[in-house]
C-alpha cells in the first residue's frame, strides 16, 4: 500500500549524544504499527546511520525502551495509535541516563545501581543440599512473585523525577528487585540488602509519585515494593539491626 494517498506520521527523532537535535522524518502509517516499527522503517528506508537498540520485538527482552512524546515506553509493544498526538511522534533516548548516540541510552548506571541495591540472589544452601520446597501459595512467595516479572527495560527509571533530582537514588527497578529478594525465603542476604535500601541512595528517597507504576509495561508496582522496603528498614532500624 504505497499509494499517494497514504497517511504519513510526522516523526521527530533525536540525533546526537547529550548534545544534539531532533531530525524530522515522514513515515507511512500502517495498521497495528508499533513505535519500534516506525524507528526501524526510518533506519531501513531513510537513514541507515540511525542508532537504536532492540532484540526480541515481542516484549520479553526489555532493550527497546525510548522516550515517546515525553514519556518512556517499551517501543516494541507500544502502538502508534496509543501515543501519537496530532499525527506526530517525538522519539528520544531514555531519560536519566547518558546518551550513547541517537536513541541508544547507556544503561550502565541503571545496572550498577542494581548491584548497589544488593539486587542479586544470595543462596542460603549449596548445590549439594536438597532443594528447598517453597509453596507458591505462601504469603512470602506471593510477595516475592508480585515484584518478580521485571524485564529491566529502564522505563520506570526514566520516568522517575526523584532519580532526576537525586542522581545517587537507586530508582524503582533496583528497589523493586530488592523487595522481591527480601521476601524470598531462600535468600540469605537480607541484612546487607536492607542496609543498602536504608542508605542515601535507598528507598527513603521515594515520594510515591507512582510514575513508575503508571508506566511499567509489565504492570508492576515499584512504589508498593519501595513502601515495603520503607517498613522493613524502619523495623530493622528500630531493632538496631541497621543504623
Amino acid at each position: 500500500m504505497s499509494s499517494a494517498a497514504e497517511t504519513m506520521i510526522d516523526v521527530r527523532v533525536w540525533r546526537g549524544g547529550e548534545e544534539g537535535e531532533y531530525q524530522s522524518f515522514s513515515v507511512p502509517r500502517r495498521d497495528s504499527q508499533t513505535v519500534l516499527d516506525v524507528v526501524t522503517w526510518i533506519q531501513r528506508n531513510a537513514d541507515p546511520t540511525l542508532a537504536y537498540r532492540f532484540a526480541c520485538r515481542v516484549g520479553v527482552c526489555g532493550s527497546c525502551a525510548m522516550t515517546v512524546n515525553g514519556r518512556p515506553r517499551w517501543t516494541c509493544r507500544t502502538h502508534v495509535s496509543k501515543v501519537v498526538e496530532d499525527g506526530r511522534l517525538e522519539i528520544g533516548p531514555l531519560a536519566n541516563l547518558p546518551v550513547i548516540r541517537d536513541l541508544a541510552a547507556d544503561m550502565s548506571p541503571f545496572f550498577d545501581k542494581w548491584q548497589k541495591a544488593e539486587g542479586t540472589f544470595v543462596p542460603s544452601r549449596t548445590r549439594h543440599e536438597p532443594l528447598e520446597t517453597i509453596s507458591p501459595e505462601s504469603a512470602e512467595r506471593q510477595a516475592a512473585d508480585a515484584a518478580i516479572e521485571c524485564i529491566n527495560c529502564g522505563v520506570c527509571y526514566a520516568a522517575c523525577d526523584t532519580v532526576r533530582w537525586s542522581p545517587e537514588y537507586f530508582g524503582p527497578a533496583a528497589l523493586n528487585r530488592s523487595w522481591s529478594l527480601v521476601n524470598d525465603v531462600r535468600d540469605a542476604g537480607n541484612l546487607k540488602r536492607l542496609a543498602a535500601a536504608a542508605s542515601n541512595g535507598g528507598c527513603h528517597n521515594c515520594h510515591s509519585h507512582q510514575s513508575c507504576e503508571q508506566l511499567c509495561p509489565k504492570g508492576l508496582n515499584p512504589t508498593a515494593s519501595i513502601a515495603g522496603l520503607k517498613r522493613r528498614t524502619m523495623q530493622a532500624y528500630i531493632r538496631g539491626e541497621i543504623s
Binding site: 524502619m234 541497621i242 543504623s243
Partner: protein, 110 residues
Amino acid sequence: MSAVRLYTWQRLTAVLMVPLIAVHLIVIIYATNRGLSAAEILGRTRGSIAWGLYYSLFVVAASIHGAIGVRGVAREWLGWRETALDRLMWIFGVVLLVLGLRAVIAVVAL
C-alpha cells in the same frame, strides 16, 4: 545523619501530629468564630497544664518534622552536601524549638 534515621523520626513525628493538628484546626475555627483576641487565647491557655503539655509536644514534634523536611528539600533541589544539610537541619530545628517553647511559656506560664 542516616537516611533511615531521618525517615523514622520524620514519620513518627508525623503520626504524632495527626491528632495534634486535628485539634489545632478545630481550635482555630472555634476561636476565630468567637473573634480572635488575646484575652480569649490567654484565658484558655494561662495556667492550663493540659494546654501546656499539648503545645509543648506540638512544638517539639513540629520542630523535628519541619527540620528534617527542610533538609530533604534542600538535598534534592539545592544539591547541598551532607554536612551542610545536617547543619541546616540542626540550626532550623533548634530555632523552631526555642521560639516555639518561648511561645508556649508566653501563653501558658506567665
